[in-house]
């Protein structure tokens, strides 16, 4: 899974290198910490840019919070290959918690405020194996033409504008863009579940 990382940096596709880096982080080795920080920072920041309600200062603070938590808890990581997803789940949880703190009017589900860094995995591990970029591309293609598809295309496919900038370009509220992105993620999750369940019952 390390090879399918969210940053092209992931020059850390080499498992041994990833293990070496994470071992260094566990020991508090600053060279390793620095490399991990600089390698994964762009992806973490990009994820947080999906929360249009957060401004640049808040996102920057959250990046630091995410890495602080990750470096502190990296010893709990089950396997090095899970590092990408684990780090991003911390980032998402921190982002959603920040939204919850920032404005109660946002539709932030109760789970978002929970500490989930070590949460039990209720979605089977097998589901993760089903998840790949081609499935996501197909889902994007299957979206009806309209604001949601355009939002997803701008944020995830072109990958240049922040959610806040997309809101300005499209002339919609910031929360609308965040919710469109969340809705798309829900589609992926649903498709993932359906694929796993159908496969389970195939002869």
């Amino acid at each position: 899974m390390a090879g399918a990382a969210f940053s092209e940096s992931l020059t850390v596709t080499d498992r041994e290198e990833l293990v070496r880096l994470l071992d260094g982080v566990k020991r508090g080795d600053q060279a390793a910490c620095r490399q991990v920080y600089l390698t994964w920072r762009p992806g973490v920041l990009r994820l947080l840019e999906g929360f249009a309600q957060l401004d640049a200062d808040e996102r920057e603070d959250l990046v630091q919070e995410v890495f602080t938590r990750a470096f502190r808890a990296v010893g709990n990581l089950k396997s090095p290959e899970a590092f990408d997803g684990w780090l991003l789940s911390i980032a998402r949880n921190r982002g959603l918690s920040a939204l919850a703190r920032k404005a109660s009017r946002h539709e932030v589900r109760e789970r978002y405020a929970q500490e989930q860094d070590d949460a039990a995995e209720l979605i089977p591990e097998s589901a993760r194996l089903e998840l790949d970029i081609s499935m996501v591309r197909r889902l994007i293609e299957s979206l009806p033409e309209g604001p949601e598809k355009e939002t997803v295309r701008l944020f995830y496919v072109e990958g240049e504008l922040s959610a806040r900038e997309i809101a300005e370009r499209m002339g919609v509220g910031k929360s609308a863009v965040t919710m469109r992105l969340e809705r798309f993620r829900a589609r992926i999750r649903r498709q993932l579940m359906l694929d796993v369940l159908k496969r389970r019952w195939e002869p």
Binding site: A5, T39, R41, G85, I90, A186, L197
Partner: protein, 244 residues
């Protein structure tokens, strides 16, 4: 019975095929999507794949790393760091090449004036014999055989002036620059990275960077240095102690 997923139906679905429910799920029910979205797990993997659609290069933002390090070291003393940095001073200069990915262990850091995204930040590195760049700390002793190069994070785009101050002397302008918003290496036009050779220097040397949104005179910049910043003008400073 409600057609929507709940905890009991979800559990049952994993054990027993339910075509009606699967068909309902496939239709894109928002209530069921919300239920699935509330299940922990897979979030990070979904984000990992989504972000892979437009992969990003590793960061070269050494200033961001320096800020992170500073925060880790002194999490409860940020305001103090700000005050100390404002009171400190010094140096810089040089000229060599700042490679995008210096293979060095970074540690602390140097010039900071202000805090957060509104701060102008100035950081220096020395180039070693093999071309490797080593970031230096504010106040660090540096050989006069070295040359300094600089990385800056600016809160805005606009003109800037770079000064050098020897000891307690009057700051002398080295050059004028154009900054973009965000992190960048200081460059001198098309000549590449701006460097400052320490040859001939001795003792404390400070480097001041003064930036504004609109052009400013040398006098305005010097006033801003004295005042530690001014309306619309931000200042960053770092110092080195030059040894023979």
């Amino acid at each position: 019975m409600s057609p929507h997923l709940d905890a009991a139906r979800w559990t049952a679905l994993q054990a027993t095929r339910d075509d009606a429910l699967l068909e309902h799920l496939a239709s894109g029910c928002e209530a069921c999507d919300a239920f699935l979205a509330a299940l922990p797990g897979a979030d990070g993997d979904i984000d990992r794949v989504l972000l892979s659609l437009a992969p990003r290069a590793p960061s070269t933002d050494e200033l961001a790393w320096a800020r992170f390090r500073r925060r880790q070291q002194q999490p409860a003393r940020r305001s103090l760091v700000f005050a100390v940095a404002a009171a400190l001073g010094l140096l810089v200069a040089g000229g060599l090449l700042w490679r995008a990915e210096p293979q060095v262990a970074v540690d602390p850091w140097t010039g900071l004036k202000g805090s957060g995204q509104d701060a102008l930040e100035l950081r220096a590195a020395v180039k070693g014999a093999r071309g490797a760049l080593t970031p230096i700390d504010d106040g660090q002793a540096v050989s006069s055989a070295a040359a300094l190069v600089f990385q800056v994070r600016s809160p805005m785009a606009g003109p800037a002036r770079l000064f050098i101050q020897r000891g307690d002397g009057v700051p002398v302008e080295l050059t004028q620059l154009g900054l973009v918003q965000g992190a960048q290496e200081l460059e001198r036009g098309d000549e590449g990275l701006l460097g400052f050779s320490l040859a001939g220097e001795r003792g404390p040397v400070s480097v001041w960077l003064v930036a504004a949104e609109v052009p400013m005179s040398v006098d305005t910049a010097l006033e801003a240095i004295k005042a530690g910043g001014d309306a619309g003008v931000v200042v960053a400073k770092l110092r080195v102690d030059v040894t023979p």
